[in-house]
Symmetry: C2
Subunit: 300 residues, 2 copies
């Protein structure tokens, strides 16, 4: 049932590249920036069109396809997810939060355009994301579901940022449960939302939506475990953002709690969990399998 | 056709108080904060439940009523508007923007809870606002319109903040047109959105929606002209936020461009424009007339 990992990693790369091209095209052609101040537009475009893996849009598109939907039905939602993701990076990078100066190999937005502009451009991106959903090419009932899903995913992501930056975790959790709670919110919530929104755009039934949801849960957690590993094993130049920061900031991380070897086992386990979750969707889920395999071995 | 101003100012006060009570009750009872970190919840509640005129929720509710809708249909949208308004105040007050320490007579959120929390709590409020609309008690088609309207209003408001804080106005505008463009976006966009969303919740036909839109345009501009006047004539203690800041920051304002006397004429003109815009709605628009009269003479 499952592809060999080697074949499928390449499929993941192809899927990511193809989806990335589709979403970049949509964002370049479909967004009307004309009524915004030019420097606000420039700041938002700098952040949104400045590269990135485009994983979340790829998940929206591929989850839509996996349940039988057309890519066209998913593009507005895919753009919405990428806008929310980029907004969250811009605000997370601010001096009052992570104070990062490098993102995707470029100066972060507040370094490029100033702190006030970074705050406001982030706000704009979040509002625009919901605007895309209001015009999404699907039934109004589905649009409403998409809005609810994105609002929940964004709120949970913000909660995760708070846990990560300002603490406040519930008492009595073990260290590993603390890390998991932070990451389920900070990274997992939007990745799960991407998967679910894609499935909704594709008209998924309850069973398919459940499969895709479990896939999204596993992918979100795996993404962050890998991210934590990259933070301790890779150079900033390679990853495109500062590394070694988690330890320096005393943040609890997967490798810090489990050790590096157990983290690699956890990645393998989560990859399998993701792949198994969508096995009932058959060949249509091959691109999702490819993305899971690719994300398990990514080095950036 | 039009009430005497004296009677109707009292009606405006009553309307504002009654709507304020309804929306505070909805926000206290209907919002589930349980899955957020406690200090994030505290920060957002500090900002949202910390008083304020509640003008925007009142406009949502009264515009809904004015076109024949029930208040219950408008409350989720009213809360959404107030959340977006409060988020915008929190971010606008940040050190990188207006650097204000006083808001509604209390320390601003970043003074109260720190800058990181203020940024993140603002983000949360904006996301939650759209979540309210996803669950609003109306037809999915209407919900979709509400989301589009709020996204547009928020985006335009952010554009206004950029003009106000970072410049970038189109070249060739006269000083008064510059001020107007700033304020139509910064303050007017959300006030207009409040009016239109209320009318949509109430099932307005195209003609009523147009009336309410013109009312909202006039109210938004009037609100800001009065705000500019208060900035030069009132104490911070009375208004509940720093005053005299516009001149100190070299910002273009209505009084700065037109002079104080002409500003008062402009307020009178806009009040009449607002009142006339909804005259075709008959007695049902009396509360809107009251709000216009009250807002024209407010001192806080």
């Amino acid at each position: 049932m499952e592809h060999t990992t080697t074949t499928s990693v390449q499929e993941g790369r192809d899927v990511l590249a193809a989806s990335g091209k589709q979403i970049d095209q949509w964002m370049a052609n479909s967004i009307d920036w004309s009524h915004f101040p030019p420097h606000l537009t420039e700041a938002a475009r700098y952040s949104v069109l400045g590269g990135g893996k485009r994983l979340r849009p790829a998940l929206v598109i591929q989850c839509c396809n996996a349940v039988g939907g057309d890519t066209d039905a998913a593009l507005a939602s895919a753009a919405a997810l990428e806008f929310v993701h980029c907004f969250s990076l811009v605000h997370d990078d601010l001096p009052a939060l992570d104070n990062d100066e490098l993102r995707r190999g470029q100066p972060t937005l507040h370094v490029h355009a100033g702190e006030a502009m970074a705050i406001l451009a982030g706000d704009l991106m979040l509002a625009m994301a919901f605007g895309f959903l209001a015009d999404a090419p699907c039934e109004p009932t589905v649009r409403t579901l998409l809005v609810g899903e994105l609002a929940r995913g964004t709120s949970d992501m913000v909660a995760g940022q708070v846990y990560d930056t300002l603490g406040g975790l519930p008492e009595g959790l073990t260290p590993i449960d603390q890390v998991r709670l932070v990451h389920l919110n900070k990274t997992g919530a939007l990745i799960k939302a991407a998967c679910r929104m894609g499935a909704m755009c594709g008209g998924a039934d309850a069973e398919s939506l459940d499969s895709v949801t479990r896939y999204g849960d596993a992918m979100g957690l795996m993404f962050q475990v890998v991210d934590d590993l990259l933070d301790i094993t890779q150079s900033a130049q390679h990853v495109g953002k500062a590394t070694g920061k988690d330890a320096a900031n005393g943040k609890r991380t997967y490798p810090g709690v489990l050790g590096e070897a157990a983290c690699r086992d956890e990645v393998a386990r989560l990859r399998t969990e993701a792949v198994m979750a969508v096995s009932n969707l058959g060949d249509a889920a091959d691109p999702l399998v490819g993305l899971a395999n690719l994300m398990a071995i990514r080095t950036q």
